[in-house]
Symmetry: C2
Subunit: 253 residues, 2 copies
């Protein structure tokens, strides 16, 4: 099976890593819109337009399904993208909610959702969880965590100061955290340390693997071949992919 993975930049490689670890695809075609990253500070109309342009990109690749790894795109653009494609498209929000429901039975559990401004403003995670009866849900926009991760900072004073900036006024200590941005799995340890406990972490990559498996939308791929494409500096993105995904990776094209 050949899967497409769309992201605003490099962050979606954390989803690719989950696909590789679970060996569920023969081929993965990754497209990062690095010329226009980040999306999470931009308007819904613009995000939809970018999603539709990604469909045009993937139309050349004969993919069997497309995963939009980007939470912001998943929050705003899926219906419009589905209208323009003849393959199934999966976002990461429904899978994230599903993963949480599978693991958190207590409807009074404290649930923290973190994401970009656009993702949190969409209210998508919040509405889904509330409609399922979860009564203790808080959502926080944590946009500065994106450039910090992109700077390669995964621990230390800068990160601690930013976590404190966002979370010091929270009145809860979360039982579960939805990492509503593909960058955030890279700092999940720092987030756990901040709260002084290990909350359940919902990771988009792991969630979407489970979701696709439940729907029979996976194949087998122990030697997955990977194509990396970008709208800006594709060489840089390939270097990040090699670093994050292992140097012995087979690249196609």
């Amino acid at each position: 099976m050949r899967a497409g993975v769309f992201d605003s930049g490099a962050g979606g490689l954390t989803v690719v890593r989950s696909f590789l670890e679970h060996g569920i695809f023969d081929e993965i075609v990754y497209y990062g819109d690095t010329a226009r990253v980040p999306y999470g500070i931009k308007d819904p109309n613009t995000i939809v337009r970018y999603g539709l342009e990604a469909i045009e990109f993937f139309n050349n690749f004969g993919i069997d399904l497309l995963v939009t790894a980007c939470n912001t795109v998943s929050a705003y653009a899926l219906p419009q993208m589905r209208d323009k494609s003849d393959y199934p498209i999966y976002g990461v929000i429904d899978p994230g909610v599903r993963a949480l429901v599978n693991k958190v039975e207590d409807k009074d559990a404290s649930i923290l959702i973190i994401g970009t401004r656009a993702t949190i403003d969409s209210g998508r995670y919040q509405k889904e969880l509330e409609s399922l009866g979860y009564g203790n849900v808080v959502a926080v926009q944590t946009g500065m965590l994106v450039p910090v991760v992109e700077e390669g900072i995964f621990s230390g004073e800068v990160l601690e100061a930013i976590l404190s900036h966002y979370f010091s006024s929270l009145s809860m200590t979360p039982d579960a955290i939805i990492l509503g941005c593909t960058h955030f799995p890279l700092i999940s340890d720092a987030i756990s340390s901040y709260f002084g406990r290990k909350p359940l972490m919902i990771h988009s990559g792991e969630a979407i693997v489970e979701y696709l498996e439940e729907r029979g939308m996976t194949g087998r791929g122990t030697e997955t071949r990977l194509g990396i494409f970008a709208s800006d500096n594709v060489e840089g993105l390939r270097n990040i992919a090699t670093e994050w995904l292992g140097a012995d990776r087979q690249f196609i094209l």
Copy 2:
């Protein structure tokens, strides 16, 4: 006189503020490429392409001159943009260097240049200053300061942690700092505090005003009319403009 001001986003409004304070134009047409901001993390080829697309935007407005407020565009795209326009185009790097030369006679003065990754990588400021004989010049990429300013953080622990991250290994205490990004004037006080003294700060807006005045490229504009345009969320940018530039501002269009 009608001036165009081009920036990757909202930051160039600090340059507009200088134009308004000095009353040097009757009309200013501002275009922020908010759909693709930030530029400073992107490739030179992409930055040049965006600069050329801005020229197409301004061609409709009958401007007398164009100022690219964005240091990153000024570092990479001016020759190509000049080839495609029939009005003069000014960047902010030569004016910044000129302003420093006017104020710092001592060639051994400690000069710190801060800017985005792309601006610093271009080496433009460094080469100009070294060719003029300044022997104690250090350049630091301080990209995280951009999203921090955009989050409205102008002081406090987050900013201090980031300043310390970038500057704690510096072996100099700067006599002068070139604020090589339009966002940075908003945190010049915090930067001064960090160094425990008040270095001379070179601000792109003030520098370009002086530069244009020296060249007779200014008019008079005590009631400057301002047009604000953006590739994404123009309403949001107009709100920022109102906040930064004064609520009684006359907007055109």
